[in-house]
Subunit: 207 residues, 2 copies
């Protein structure tokens, strides 16, 4: 299948919202409600969903449980995925113990840092290693995702390591553009850019 990034992003949000609804014991949800929740129109949502063929029911909407299951299967979002965090500084250690990842199907199974001191001092239930063992551990533990939380100047180096180790996706928190081979899916989370975006919209706002 061949969905646009916009559609994939919305689908992910829908999945998250279905999860919340399921936990709240809600049985059905309409495209209108989903739209409000994820910031889109009901038309767009229905188009998105129609691409996946999910069945909706007249005057009821979509059945939360089965729809979530369907999305989970189609996108393999129910498959538990293993991830590692590289760089166990302030941000990295916060991420290491972020329980939501676990709940949402992402298992942080290893942390890496170049500082042996740091590794010894960290108190966490997750295994932490010297970054020199990254390749070995990523392979041994079938890690698919790498989360980069090292300083900007080390980011490329770490990305290269992760690439070599064979991860399939990278989430980059360092505020630099890193070179990542196209066969690896990646996303940058740049907080400064987020603040700039907000500030720029103070002035230039389109609705």
């Amino acid at each position: 299948m061949d969905l646009s990034n916009n559609t994939i992003e919305r689908i992910c949000k829908i999945f998250g919202h279905l999860d919340a609804l399921e936990k709240r014991g809600v049985d059905f949800v309409s495209s209108k409600e989903l739209a409000g929740e994820i910031g889109a129109t009901e038309y767009t949502i229905r188009k998105d969903i129609s691409l996946l063929g999910g069945p909706g029911y007249t005057r009821k909407g979509y059945e939360v449980k089965s729809f979530k299951k369907e999305l989970g299967e189609k996108f393999l979002l129910t498959k538990r995925r293993k991830a590692c965090i590289v760089g166990l500084g302030r941000l990295g250690t916060a991420l290491l113990d972020y329980e939501n990842f676990q709940e949402d199907g992402f298992e942080i199974v290893a942390g890496f840092d170049c500082s042996v001191n740091k590794i010894e001092r960290i108190r966490t239930s997750i295994d932490v290693f010297a970054v020199s063992r990254l390749e070995e551990i990523v392979e041994a533990r079938d890690i698919e995702l790498g989360i980069v939380a090292v300083p900007a100047e080390s980011a490329q180096e770490v990305v290269d390591l992760l690439t070599k180790a064979g991860v399939k996706g990278i989430l980059n928190f360092s505020p630099v553009k890193v070179n990542i081979p196209t066969h690896i899916v990646h996303l940058d989370m740049d907080f400064t850019n987020a603040l700039r975006f907000i500030a720029a919209r103070f002035i230039m706002k389109k609705t």
Copy 2:
């Protein structure tokens, strides 16, 4: 002016890249190079820039220094903006001491938490307060941006407080959809969703 979100986002990235180039002492940059750096085509970049009327020079490109200055002025990105962080847990404290914000023109001038214990224990150069003083401090210090790093269940409450206090923008790190009045610019940073997006693209990728 009335720019699309896509354009604004690219402009912010361009601004960031110009900043990096300036620090590296580079004088000119072409649309092609910018395009490669921020993940767009040279055509799109030129269209974006043409909307702002920035002058480019034949066979040289854009003059880094003056172009950055121009963008900074047009979008008020050079204006230093004051921000506060609400919720000084693992993520909040990491953000509190993130020096890049400072460098990039965002000044974290206050932190808030509901736990008095926590406030007393925190070691940072930034002033921290009980959340009950939020409104007072936001007004007194002219804080324009609120960064939300409290647990999901407190997010709406904190957003309401920030709204009441009169911030102009909110960056939300809690993984829930909060209700924010339309006159406030806001952006959600949902890490789980980011990982889901990456995972979904393992399967459904469009280029």
